[in-house]
Each structure stands twice: as C-alpha cells, then as structure tokens.
C-alpha cells in the first residue's frame, strides 16, 4: 500500500520499525560505497593482456614506429578502433591519450578562447551552456571553470526535452553549447531517441554562431544486452543539415580496458579535426602511440566480444539493485528509478526534497552515496530528489547490502515526511 494512504497508526508502526532497523544498521560498522563510477577489478582483469601484447614489435601495420614522436591524429589503426567503438568513419577520428575528459576540456578551451566553429566565445559575454539534468558532474566542472553559465533542461526517457532546448537556443544567442551523454546517459541511463538525435544535430541552425554540441558517447558499447541497443549517428544527421562543424563526438576505452591507462577519441568534421589538431600542435608533439598500438592488438575487430564479458560482470549488479528496489519500494509511491540496459549508473528519484536526507541517513548507516546535487550544475538539485547509484565497482554482495540500506533510508525519510505532513 502507498505510504501516503497508510492510516496514522500503521504509519507510526512502520516508522518505529524503520527507525529501529536504521539504528541497528548504523551500529553495525557497515562500510559500503556506491559512489564510484569506475570498473571493478574483475573488469580490469579482462584487459590484463595489454601489457606484453606487442611481443617486442612496436611498428604499426602502417609502418609507423609507435615509440617515437609525431602523428597528432594518432595511429591509423587506433583511429580505426575508434571508428569501431563509435560507429564512425576513421577519417573523422583523432586517437589521443587516456582521457576523453581532457579532450572535452580542450574543445571547450579552443571554442572559448580561440574559436572553433565560429568566433571565440570569449568575445561575447555572457556565455551559456545547456545541461540536461541529471547529468555528469565533470561536464559541469569544465563548464564552470570557464565561467560559462549552466542552464538546466529536464531529461526524459528519450533524451533531453528538445522543445525546451530549441526554444532556449532560439531565444538566447549567448547559449554556445550543449552537453550530451547520448547512450546510457550519465546518470539516468536513457538512450537518446532517433528524433532527439536529429533535433540535436540540427540545433546549430537555430543557435548563434559558434554553437557546439558536446557529444560524450562514453558508453557507446557498454551494453548489457546483445544485439546492443543502437544510437543514431549524429555526425551523419549534422552533415545532412549543414551543421557538421558544430558537433564534437567523444569516446574512450576507460571503461573498456583500463580506466587509468586507456586511449580516447574525438571525432568531428574535417574542419573540426583540423582546428583541434592545430590546437594540439601547440601543446603536444605526439600521443602515446605505444598504448594505442596495444589497444589495437587487444580490441580491434573484437570490441563486442570484449564488452559481452564486461556485461556478464556488470549486469548482475544492476539486476540486483533493481530487484531489491522492487522488493523494498514497489507500490509504496515514494520512489522511481531507472532500469538502464547498459552504462554505469542508476538514478533513484525520491519524493521531492528528500535526496539529501536519504543520502545522509545512508551515510550514517555506513553506505556512501554520491552527494545530493552532484548530478546537477552548481551541485544544486532544485527538487532535491535525484540519487545516483554506481553499482559497478563494489562486489555483488556489497551492492546488494548497500541497496538494502538505501531502501531502508528512503522508506524512513519518506515515512517521516508523510508523518510530518499529517501533523501540519
């Protein structure tokens, strides 16, 4: 029965039970952590063959000595691997070092200070960015570091609310970019629908000059089910509507091989890549092509096979979270949650105004959760209802135990709130 429909006696009884259970758990020295959106050791083990895979041969198939300087676009074979992961043409890809976040920073830096697809953003103030929420805190950190104002737009099951997005960019020429994690979005896990992808591709035609779509396809192949879910090709759409120079696509192997020690990719139009390469030239003589070569040897032509092995490790953790949320919260009318078919996160939405309280209760019971608000620009969730769960890193039984505690805390905080409402 929904909590809101319980009579006062039942609610009091429930509250007492929950408070007692919470206090018991809090005394039990639990120490669990669902904050870490990083691969578990067993996932990393899948790529242990990387070290030593070259067997003394550092020459690329295209005759490049990977050990020496040069080749700012990366090894041709590494660009092909990027193409396999991102579903794009290798000619549209630069293969880089371990961090796609660094590439995103460089794209914003180039657009802001030097002009990437139009005049430098810094020549106009203010500069604003559209941030679908909930979103990825590291995108917000980059954006804020440039003093770019962030505008929240709600995320739906098929991607950002595009009616709002289109109205915003048409009304406000100071909006210069939009952040997107289009597949298994961080953290809601949704996949942008074909219509959403098309509308985002066409956005630059409504926006002011220099608009950039930051297309962080971090979970491009991070599926739990096969054949994998598909995401439309934004670059193809953009080409058709004449906005190809306004889209930057990102990917990496951080959650395919090693989170510290993978390779990353940026993709875009020939104009976009030329400009990025000219910026890279200022700060770099060449990427780590040795590691690119290792990744080619390990993954090229067998990315899906590798990701199936990840799925076998990750899927059970997501299923356990969903099962426990269902068992504990279904029908109570106090929470909703996402059921992603891939990626790294689950989102739980509480009754508005309870996320921080739930996270605090969980913390006191020994379960660390991502701080309330971290999924929103400036660390402020205006509804205080979004909780991000990262189930990959912890062991299955820890994920289960932590989710049990989370459910207890959601029930306790919700029962308290509803009880307080009766008093008022």
């Amino acid at each position: 029965m929904q909590y809101a429909q319980l009579d006062i006696a039942d609610l009091e009884r429930e509250l007492a039970t929950l408070a007692q259970r919470h206090s018991a758990v809090s005394g039990s020295n639990l120490s669990l952590d669902l904050t870490r959106g990083k691969p578990a050791p067993e996932q990393l083990d899948l790529a242990n063959a990387l070290d030593g895979i070259l067997e003394g041969n550092y020459m690329s198939a295209t005759g490049i000595d990977a050990r020496n300087y040069g080749d700012l676009r990366g090894l041709p074979e590494a660009r092909e691997l990027g193409a396999e992961i991102l579903g794009l043409d290798p000619d549209r890809i630069i293969a880089d070092g371990p961090s796609s976040l660094t590439l995103m920073y460089q794209v914003i830096d180039a657009a802001y200070h030097y002009g990437l697809s139009g005049p430098a953003w810094s020549s106009e103030t203010p500069v604003k960015a559209i941030c679908p929420v909930p979103g990825y805190d590291r995108h917000f950190t980059i954006t804020e570091s440039f003093g770019i104002e962030m505008i929240n737009v709600p995320m739906n099951a098929d991607g950002p609310d595009m009616d709002q997005v289109e109205a915003l960019v048409e009304a406000d020429p100071s909006i210069k970019c939009m952040w997107c994690v289009p597949k298994y979005s961080n953290p809601s896990g949704c996949i942008y629908s074909p219509e959403t992808v098309q509308r985002i591709a066409a956005l630059a035609n409504r926006a002011s000059a220099g608009f950039i779509v930051m297309w962080d396809n971090a979970y491009a192949v991070h599926d739990f089910e096969f054949p994998p879910a598909e995401l439309d090709d934004i670059l193809a759409h953009a080409e058709r509507c004449g906005t190809a120079d306004n889209v930057a696509v990102f990917g990496s192997t951080s959650k395919i091989t090693f989170a510290g020690g993978g390779i990353s990719f940026v993709a875009g139009s020939p104009v976009m890549l030329d400009r990025l390469e000219s910026r890279m030239f200022v700060m770099l003589i060449g990427h780590d092509k040795v590691n690119q070569l290792r990744h080619v040897k390990l993954l090229h032509g067998r990315v899906e096979q590798h990701m199936r092995a990840h799925a076998d490790l990750v899927r059970p953790k997501f299923e356990a979270v969903d099962r426990i949320l269902n068992e504990s919260l279904d029908g109570l009318g106090i929470a909703e949650w996402s059921r992603p078919r891939g990626g790294y996160f689950i989102v739980v939405d509480t009754i508005p105004g309870l996320a921080a309280e739930v996270i605090d209760l969980a913390g006191r019971a020994g379960v660390r959760l991502t701080p309330a608000g971290a999924t929103h620009p400036y660390g402020r969730d205006p509804d205080d209802r979004t909780i991000r769960l990262a189930p990959t890193f912890a062991a299955l039984e820890e994920v289960e135990a932590a989710t049990e505690v989370l459910c207890l805390c959601i029930r306790l905080a919700s029962a308290r709130r509803i009880r307080a409402g009766r008093d008022a």
Copy 2:
C-alpha cells in the same frame, strides 16, 4: 688560412672548387636529415622491455591499482622516479602522462587565465616573456599562442645573459615569465652555471607579481660523460630567497624510454603543486598510472646505467659532427660551433646573414636542416647566423655525410660573401 685573408686569386680558386663540389653533390640524389631532435631506433630499443615488464601485476608497491581512475599526483613510485631524474624531493613532484610540453602549456594556461603565483596574467596587458636565444621553438609556439610578447636575450656559455635579464624584469612589470632549458640547453648545449641558476631563482624578487620561471630540465640525465655534469638545484635556491612559488620545473622520459609513450613530471613548491593539481582536476580523472608503473619497474634506481647506454649510441654522432666541423672549418674564420657534453643538439654559428643561405644550399644538395630562424621567437634570427643540428636520429654514416655537406655549404656561402665584399 682565414677566408678573409685569402688573396683574390686563391679566393676565386676556392670558390670554383666549392661550387663544383656543391653541384656534384646536388646531382647525387642525396637525402639526409639533421632536423629531427628525436631518439634513434637503437635508443628506443633500450626500453623495449617496457611492454610486458609488469608480468600481470598492476598493483603498485603502495597498494594502488594502476589500472583504475584517480591519483592526480601520479603513483608515489613514479614521483620517486621523477625525483631520481630531476634530483628533487618526491613530495615536490607530480608524475603525469607522456608530454612535458603539455604540462608547460598547462602551467602557462593556469598562470595566464587563472593565476598561478599571483593574479592572472590576462588581467594585465601586454604580457611578455623572456626567451634566451637560441632556444626551443615549441616554447615559443606555446608563448605566442597566448599572445604573449617574446623578448630575446642572448645565451652565453654559462646560460642567459643575466645582467640583461635582471635589468629587463626590473624595468618592465609586464614581463611575467622566462623560459629556460638549463642543462644541455636546446640548442646551444650549454649548462647554466651555479651563479646563473641562483640569479634566475631570485628573479621573482625583482619582477612583478605572478612571475614564473619555466625550468624545462628536458636533458637532466642526458649526459655523454660520467660522472655526469651537475646542474644547481633551482628549487633549493628559490626556497632560500622566498621565490619557491615562482618556479615550475619540468622533465620527462621522452628521450630516456619512448618519445611517444613515456611519462612526464612537473615539480614545484607545495603551493604550486596544489594549484596545478586543482587545474588538472578540471580536465582529468587520472593519469596513465599503468605506464608510470612500467617506467618505475624499468628505471627506478638505474637511471644512470640506462643513460650510459644512450650515451654510447649518441656520443659517437656528436663526436663525428665535431670532428668534421673541425677538419673542414677550423681556422677559416667563418663558423663557430658548440661542443655539448650531453643533450640533443649542436649549434653552428655562421658569419652573420648567412644561415638561411647555407640551409638553402644544403637543402639543394639533399641535406635537410632545421629552417633558419626556428631557434628564435617568431622564427626570426636577427643575425641570421644560427644553425641547429640534431644528430641523434640519423645513422652515424648519414650524420657524417650530412655534416660534410653542411661544411661545404658554409664554405661556399662564406667564400661568396667575402668575394662579394671585395667587389664592393
């Protein structure tokens, strides 16, 4: 006999011989290259054990899983390796990815846009940098990309002309940084004397707020002779004169292990490192610690042993260049050159106004040399006399053949110039 003292008949005879030899060489389809300041394949081979060196063990001695995210200062062991290379305290070091040039860019970026050791440089205009010449073109490229004006200062045998440098920073508060390659300077090969190091360490006391010494110790252990030449510790001097927050030290393994695929280091005061780490946090979740761990296994405690093997490969090439320059040019009064005891470059100074012509003559004879002016800001050598030779990459016999051609071209251009002077 000096060319300038030859009588006209001898000079004409010499000119005719040289012109004939140049034309013979030009017809011989030679294709040699002394432009590439990068390691030869045999040098890279010295580090071939890197791939596979971990033998499946990705855990650091300090219990960090190198494969996962995190640790923005790098593995503690990698910082110790940086300390061994740079002769500094590990606590003063951040271990990073493959490119120290990227670290230099990030330091300038931080100082310019955000303020590193004082207010952001961008809050004042103009901003100027002191560039000892000849110097490293990639330093100039970074500097110019920020619109920072570059001021030439002559390089002496013991480092930059410090009387000039001190007078400049005292007179002009818009001077905000100084570039230095203090050991085996690129390209002159000189080592900054202890007095020079001390005066540079103290510069910030004469300069305006936010002044940074960019101390690119790229050739810290790249000696040809052992025990190796010593460089004074600028951070120790800076600490004594209260300028520790105004010095950024850089190093890398690019010319120790792999030029594409090494690791790099930035060192400085606790304040400097805190600020840099906070900037890194914006653009990065963690460096490639796996590659850091590989480097620790290969090099820690045996850097000198490894560099002796490099010296055995590189020294003969430098000796060959010096021998041929001596045989061909000594006593003619038309050229001077450096005799470095380490590093990657030799500088040849021609009669003023002849460098571009010599490089052009060499090019027509099939020998590529670094373009005239590349050793100076804005690509302009005001005396047009400095030629940079990079003897490491080519095979010994190629280095010898190329140097022979260079000497021929210097003689030809010089004889022509002196002959023209007689006519005038």
